[in-house]
Subunit: 343 residues, 2 copies
DNA sequence: ACGGATATCCAAAGCGCTTTGGGAGGAATC
DNA sequence: GATTCCTCCCAAAGCGCTTTGGATATCCGT
């Protein structure tokens, strides 16, 4: 049924060499010939055999990722969403995955084994921390990789895709300040993760520029579940001098925070303003909140897809992708932000 | 560095044929010779080249799964946990994944394409519904597959791994009845999923055996998030004749339910009893609840690993695995269940 | 002691692709 | 007109494994 290179070449009256070169974009083939080849491919539905390509080229056509299985990271909704983007793009190019579940303490070994196995052409790395030792290790491994996020304190000479977390929360904070808010709380992700650190930094910076400072009593770090959002919000509301606004590192956290606020009988966008970071999770749209949420938006799935594109592009030596990308999150104002209430 | 078959054969003074056969368990090789080969493998660290094996055998050594991206299913914590088990086992055997994100309405096309691509040797199927059309389709596809869960109303002649949901909730309900509970509520998973249907059935059966019936006003179906657990529990508590016990289809749901109960000022295990199904999610241990939870337990990760084992075993024609497995969930009694309160 | 099993092993032919090392033909150079 | 240089194409050699189709040697019964 499926036709192979040899048959295709015969059909065209060409050698396998020429057909192969036509398909792989080599220059030494006549434009007209190439067209004929491409046409024949369309007609026959020819698809090169990946196993044969693997063997001939030594490439694995697959990308490796270690799947974190630490409590609260694995089975994280954000992880699934990112993975969906990665997979969606990979499948288009007929790339496989080697998913390697691993506890954080075994990660280094896992990465080494994965790289040495020859089963993957590139690695993917996420959940970056400050001074993350894994990037130095990966650099030494002589296998391409892309990092989702960025470390802090490391030199910047490694390929990454990150969103500008600092700016996102800087912008969000500034908006709140412009609306007259002075006491702003933060419900952040895990304290050790780089994105949490940067978001806090952005917030601190915006406050500082207006002569304000962040009250550590108004900061909570936790896993990004809705339960934690709820539990983080409550003490803020019971504070002697409660915040008039709050920033959440995820719409998932916001879900819990909103519940706590409602329960306290406060009105979002009036008594208290709220801005969340929106990863564009399909199950949780900020516009569907009872009071639509003002957000800093950046699609996690798109990030996954983009990283797959870069990884694959690098492996196939196609296209020229920037080594470092910093996406700016969009600030989208909805009803959950309003002027600070009068004292 | 890495040694290949040819070198290994030379080293041993044997032909490639013999070495290959020794490694793949063919009978026509002397036991002593086989030992020598195995010894040499250990010493040299020989690992067969998967790409070459693929090419020679026509097997892909990879398993395909479509990753559901419907709202509330993708990025489901339960999905991630299952995937971890699957991946953990697959990586041991050097098997890859082809993850194919797909919306439910495109699933059939996706499955067909996956099967036809030749990139996978077997498929995995989950989130079974009643009369699920996908199993008939997969049977027609002439590619091995294993189903996680079971359909309802279909003939049973397909390979599956499921837990005995009916019995699990039957047992749980009976325990509650023995403790004197008469009004029992149910916070279940999505209504269309087979496991939800069976759990409800088990509950109904236990009730019926004691002359009781399930009040539909005490049943909620929803995505299994903690938020939904909370929202499902609340109306039960406000009911004119509130339940004295509640069953939850997941510890995630239980998390929300517990919150609602606490908030209502009720004591778990005294005023109201609670049993949850425990998928053994590492981030959510029933024994760590403020009142440790009575549960029906069955590890999702173990199920994932088992399915991988069966799939891989089938592909390699190794071992003999039962086509159908029904795991019994363990009923583990902790402090969240107690005698029904006196009226 | 001899034909026929039986037990072990091997040479060689693929699997379907990429890539090296030319080779034919025509244009350009002198 | 001979030489060089492109342009465009091809034959063939792998990549590292599995598997077919024998070989060779040993052992059996008779």
């Amino acid at each position: 049924m499926a036709v192979n290179l040899k048959q295709l070449a015969e059909l065209l009256g060409l050698s396998q060499t020429t057909v192969s070169r036509a398909l792989n974009g080599f220059p030494e083939v006549n434009a007209e010939t190439r067209q004929r080849v491409l046409q024949a491919v369309r007609e026959t539905g020819y698809r090169p055999n990946r196993a044969a390509q693997r063997l001939a080229t030594g490439r694995a056509y697959s990308i490796g990722m270690v799947m974190p299985i630490a409590p609260g990271i694995d089975s994280d909704v954000h992880f699934g969403e990112f993975l969906a983007g990665l997979a969606e793009e990979a499948v288009k190019h007929d790339f496989h995955f080697v998913l390697n579940p691993s506890a954080p303490e075994d990660e280094e070994v896992t990465f080494r084994r994965l790289a040495a196995s020859g089963n993957v052409d590139a690695l993917f790395l996420a959940y970056m921390r400050a001074n993350d030792p894994r990037i130095a290790m990966l650099k030494s491994l002589s296998i391409p990789f892309v990092v989702h996020g960025r470390s802090i304190g490391e030199s910047r000479d490694y390929p990454f895709l990150d969103i500008d977390n600092t700016s996102a929360f800087y912008d969000a904070t500034r908006l709140l300040i412009q609306l007259g808010h002075q006491r702003i709380a933060l419900i952040n992700g895990p304290e050790y993760l780089a994105f949490s650190i940067r978001r806090k930094k952005g917030m601190v910076r915006a406050l500082a520029e207006h002569g304000l400072s962040l009250d550590e009593a108004l900061v909570q770090h936790s896993l990004m579940t809705d339960e934690h959002g709820y539990r983080s919000m409550q003490p803020f509301l019971q504070h002697a001098d409660p915040p008039t606004a709050v920033l959440c590192s995820s719409t998932v956290l916001a879900l819990g925070a909103v519940r706590a606020i409602n329960q306290a009988g406060l009105k979002i966008g009036e008594d208290i303003s709220l801005i969340a970071h929106d990863d564009v999770l399909p199950m949780l749209k900020p516009e569907n909140f009872s009071v639509p949420l003002t957000t800093t938006r950046s699609s996690l799935r798109a990030a996954g897809a983009r990283i797959a594109t870069r990884l694959i592009g690098g492996i196939l030596k196609r296209g020229d992708y920037p080594e470092q990308e910093l996406w700016r999150a969009e600030l989208i104002v909805r009803a959950s932000t309003g002027p600070a209430p009068q004292k």
